[in-house]
């Protein structure tokens, strides 16, 4: 196991001689994407004409399928296959090989036991999509429904501690809170949200003998491969899973869904390629969602604002048979100093679709509570909200006492305040007008954990000098292709044009995939390790080759740059060396493992959001006018893609604050919003003057490159900054997100 002590040494990345690290180079796959020629899973050319699969969804929330009449559907034009619980092929039990971090077991596809509205209970394959859809409408299923628990608020009484978890207590919260000079005790509600990735889940599958190839839209390559192998009851070596381009994931495509299972089963049954895509409605009902969370925040402060007592208790929900906890209180364990602390979670089990991770699980919901509560406490104390946070800045992790690896939260807040013009904020709400609009400013802090997982990567150099990095990693729009190309080019001292990156293939060395903001650090560190191993292999090749100008030199003294390998002033181009000394190319692999002593540090990314909004006092409409964020997230690999990640996250925060929510229909257990007209994600017109900056930082406790993730940090706290701005603008303090016009109108003083 490695140690963080090994990570502080200079590397080609920290030396950055070509300047590729941090440079805002264009996306590696950008030309394919702007020309529409990047094939997503449903668009891959199959070896022969594919058939089209269509899924049929349950209209009940809980019960069993009692009968299936498929005669009419089977007789419908072009139909090749109709499956219901009666005749779906046997499937193996899943779970044994699943990576618990990224995957969980799932029921077999088309099970007769219905566990939520929208669960798939039928499947039709036909020669065309139109014929498959028409036939699906002819399948007649009957059900026996059993009582279901559908509404979170109606079931709060059954909230229970998640299995294997305990509340975290430090000091004596109750006594300190009771004795505090100033107290706040409020409950904040974050709603159920949907990922709404632009690309629906989709799979194209075909068989070659007893081997299946699947192109599917999934964030985790190995998890998907093993899940499918278990389902099909074949070894994983007979499953090749490919996922080259993914039209958005955000955590919602971390696991395999029925499109993958049924496309593979049907392709086997028919001896023909089969492709299956979820409809937009099925994306809502039959994938996962971010659950609603009720968060009780209690703060007890001294008159100068220093917190003596802090508690955040979160109650959330999951599907009865699919345990998942939205850890909305975890972030707060490392955020503000307070000697007496209490954090914990309770879980309500419902018969609705499964809850699961969605961009910044925990923080995205949780920070909506505490970061509003701090704003409320600041007002009670007569303090500026930034100042209150500065007074509660801990020197070490407030729960564990561990040192922070890096922590620039204070600078994020002070730098942000200065650049945003925070000093122009009038602390009294409802005082600033611009025409019909009430105008206000709000801020919030951001924190999101940093992680490193084990991963491998392979890199080869061919006789023409082309360097190809291969990894079973994914790029869900995060920029993985691009940063891996930059890391590889900088490590080997070659121009970017000489580097190819191939991702998303279960045949490649495994990486855990995209999620939890760990992708760049994890996949990148493995790519860096592979690059360093290739340097070593090439150094030995050159110094051992009598025809090389480096012959006889010490391999340790070899340097790389400008496409050359060199010692002192003796050099030769890499392609010449490889063509002569290893004409078949050189291939090596590299791996990263987390350092045991990394856990001795409290490791996070930080930021501060500043927002200006307008509130229409007659309609309750809230419009974003300006938003700015300052973030510290380790060394930034690509200025352009990192900025897109962070502003994208901030915009998710705008959606969280103002637009996004879903509710369960108490009659059926379905979601009220089932499409993009009903579920409002931010649109162009909602986003005005939004920008961000990164602080210089290198975190040498994070990984060998000192980088951290940026994919989730931007959403953490962003919605609270807007809610606080709404209060400052109008005096409407709303503790239930999103801040829709009817809530604003009702809360206006």
């Amino acid at each position: 196991m490695s140690s963080v002590k090994d990570w502080a040494a200079p590397t080609p990345i920290s030396e950055n001689r070509s300047g590729l690290i941090g440079k805002g180079v264009d996306r590696y796959e950008g030309r394919l994407k702007v020309t529409g020629s990047a094939p997503f899973a449903y668009e891959v050319e199959a070896p022969s004409k594919p058939a089209y699969g269509v899924l049929i969804a349950s209209p009940i929330a809980r019960g069993v399928v009692t009968s299936a009449d498929i005669a009419q559907a089977q007789a419908s034009p072009g139909v090749l296959l109709v499956w219901t619980p009666d005749n779906v092929p046997a499937q193996g039990e899943r779970g044994a090989k699943i990576n618990p971090r990224s995957q969980r077991g799932a029921n077999p596809a088309l099970a007769d036991r219905v566990e939520h509205f929208g669960q798939h209970v039928g499947f039709v394959v036909a020669d065309t999509l139109e014929n498959a859809k028409a036939a699906a409408a002819l399948v007649r299923l009957t059900y026996e429904a059993t009582p279901a628990d559908l509404i979170f608020e109606d079931n709060l009484a059954q909230a229970d501690q998640p299995e294997g978890e305990e509340d975290v207590r430090v000091g004596d919260f109750e006594a300190a809170f009771a004795g505090a000079a100033v107290r706040l005790d409020e409950t904040y509600v974050s709603p159920l949200q949907n990922h709404a990735q632009m690309e629906p889940c989709a799979t194209t599958a075909w068989w070659d003998g007893d081997h299946v190839t699947v192109h599917t839209s999934i964030q985790m390559v190995k998890g998907g491969q093993h899940t499918l192998a278990e389902t099909l009851m074949i070894p994983s070596t007979q499953v090749r899973l490919i996922t080259r381009y993914i039209g958005g994931g955000f955590g919602g495509k971390g696991q395999a869904y029925d499109d993958l299972t049924l496309a593979a089963l049907a392709a086997r049954a028919l001896g023909q390629p089969v492709k299956v895509a979820y409809t937009r409605q099925q994306m809502f009902q039959a994938t996962i969602h971010r659950p609603a969370v009720h968060m009780r925040v209690r703060l007890g402060a001294q008159a100068d604002g220093r917190l003596d007592a802090f508690a955040l208790e979160a109650v959330t929900h999951c599907r009865r048979e699919a345990p998942f906890t939205e850890h909305a209180a975890n972030f707060a364990r490392s955020l503000y100093a307070a000697p007496n602390r209490l954090t914990g979670h309770r879980l309500v089990k419902l018969d609705i679709p499964a809850a699961g991770p969605m961009r910044a699980p925990g923080e995205a919901s949780g920070m909506l509570s505490l970061e509003c509560a701090m704003d409320e406490l600041a007002e009670q104390l007569g303090l500026d909200p930034v100042e209150l946070r500065l007074r509660n800045e801990p020197e070490t992790d407030p729960e564990t006492g561990k040192p922070f690896s890096t922590r620039q939260l204070v600078r994020c807040m002070t730098e942000g305040a200065q650049r945003f013009g925070w000093d122009r904020r009038n602390p009294t709400p409802g005082q600033v007008r611009d025409g019909r609009w009430l105008v206000g400013l709000g801020m919030a802090a951001a924190i999101r954990g940093n992680f490193l997982l084990p991963a491998k990567a392979g890199v080869r150099i061919d006789a023409d000098g082309t360097i190809t990095l291969r990894q079973g990693m994914t790029d869900i729009g995060t920029g993985t292709y691009t940063i891996l190309a930059q890391i590889t080019a900088e490590t080997l001292g070659v121009p970017l044009s000489q580097v190819k990156v191939e991702l998303g293939d279960s045949d490649f060395p495994p990486a855990p995939g995209s999620g939890g903001q760990f992708g760049a650090a994890t996949a990148g560190s493995a790519a860096f390790a592979a690059g360093m191993n290739l340097r070593k292999a090439l150094a030995e090749l050159a110094t051992g080759d009598p025809n090389s100008p480096l012959y006889g030199d010490d391999p340790e003294l070899v340097s790389f740059g400008g496409g050359n390998i060199a010692v002192d002033n003796r050099a030769e181009p890499l392609d010449r060396l490889v063509a002569r000394a290893a004409p078949d190319g050189v291939y090596v692999e590299g791996a990263i493992t987390p350092a045991a002593d990394a856990r001795d540090y409290s490791q996070h990314t930080y930021g501060a959001h500043f927002a200006e909004v307008g509130v229409d006092p007659d309609t309750g409409e809230v419009r974003l006018r300006r938003m700015f964020g300052v973030f510290a997230a380790g060394r930034i690999l690509n200025a352009k893609t990192a900025m897109s990640q962070i502003t994208g996250g901030m915009i998710w925060g705008v959606g969280t604050a103002l637009h996004e929510y879903n509710e369960v229909d108490p009659r059926y257990g379905s979601f009220i919003a089932q499409d993009l007209a009903g579920y409002h994600v931010p649109a162009h017109a909602d986003i005005v003057d939004l920008s961000a900056m990164f602080l210089d930082e290198v975190d040498d406790k994070a990984n060998p490159m000192g980088i951290k993730g940026v994919g989730e940090l931007g959403i953490a706290g962003a919605g609270a900054a807007i809610a606080n701005a709404v209060y400052n603008a109008s005096g409407a303090r709303i503790r239930s997100y999103p801040l829709t016009p009817e809530k604003v109108l009702a809360a206006l003083p």
Partner: protein
């Protein structure tokens, strides 16, 4: 049903199931998979194509209704080597992440710029009698039929401003 139209400058003739949308005809029969299916309900804009120079949601339009039309998809704009100026601007400004909404955003941009040049008003137009000036607010309003869940909106705006010669 036999249907003929001009597709990216070439004559195309198809024998169509009358239920087939223009989007499915493009993707499944003509192998032009650049136009994306995000919602199939005209709510996301990922399928935006140009018909006779105007942008439409191809998922809301039956293919058989396009007899004689001139259809341009993202594949008809530029190639990887020779990008259309709007495509080049999207690349330069990182106006996309996952890339799934991107062909629709690009086709929509081209249609939108033409609408503005033709003097069409939008909800954001204050003076209906004056010449259309593509302010940031106008661009955002006119592009709001194209959703981007990665939320590259600031970058898309910058790309459009630069491609439209507005920067």
């Amino acid at each position: 049903m036999k249907t003929s139209f001009t597709l990216n400058g070439q004559a195309a003739s198809l024998d169509l199931d009358p239920r087939t949308t223009l989007l499915d005809a493009l993707r499944e029969q003509l192998s032009l998979k650049g136009s994306k299916k995000g919602c199939d309900h005209g709510q996301c804009g990922a399928c935006t194509v140009l018909v006779n120079g105007r942008r439409i949601n191809a998922c809301l339009s039956l293919a058989v209704t396009h007899e004689g039309d001139e259809i341009t998809t993202v594949e008809g704009l530029g190639t990887s080597e020779t990008l259309h100026p709007v495509q080049a601007a999207f690349l330069e400004h990182d106006a996309f992440q996952c890339g799934y909404c991107t062909p629709g955003q690009i086709c929509s941009t081209i249609g939108m710029l033409k609408e503005a040049a033709d003097g069409w008003a939008s909800l954001a137009t204050a003076d209906l009698t004056a010449d259309t000036v593509l302010s940031d607010e106008e661009i955002r309003e006119r592009m709001s039929g194209n959703l981007c869940r990665c939320s590259a909106y600031p970058q898309i705006l910058a790309a459009i401003r630069s491609a439209g010669g507005l920067a």
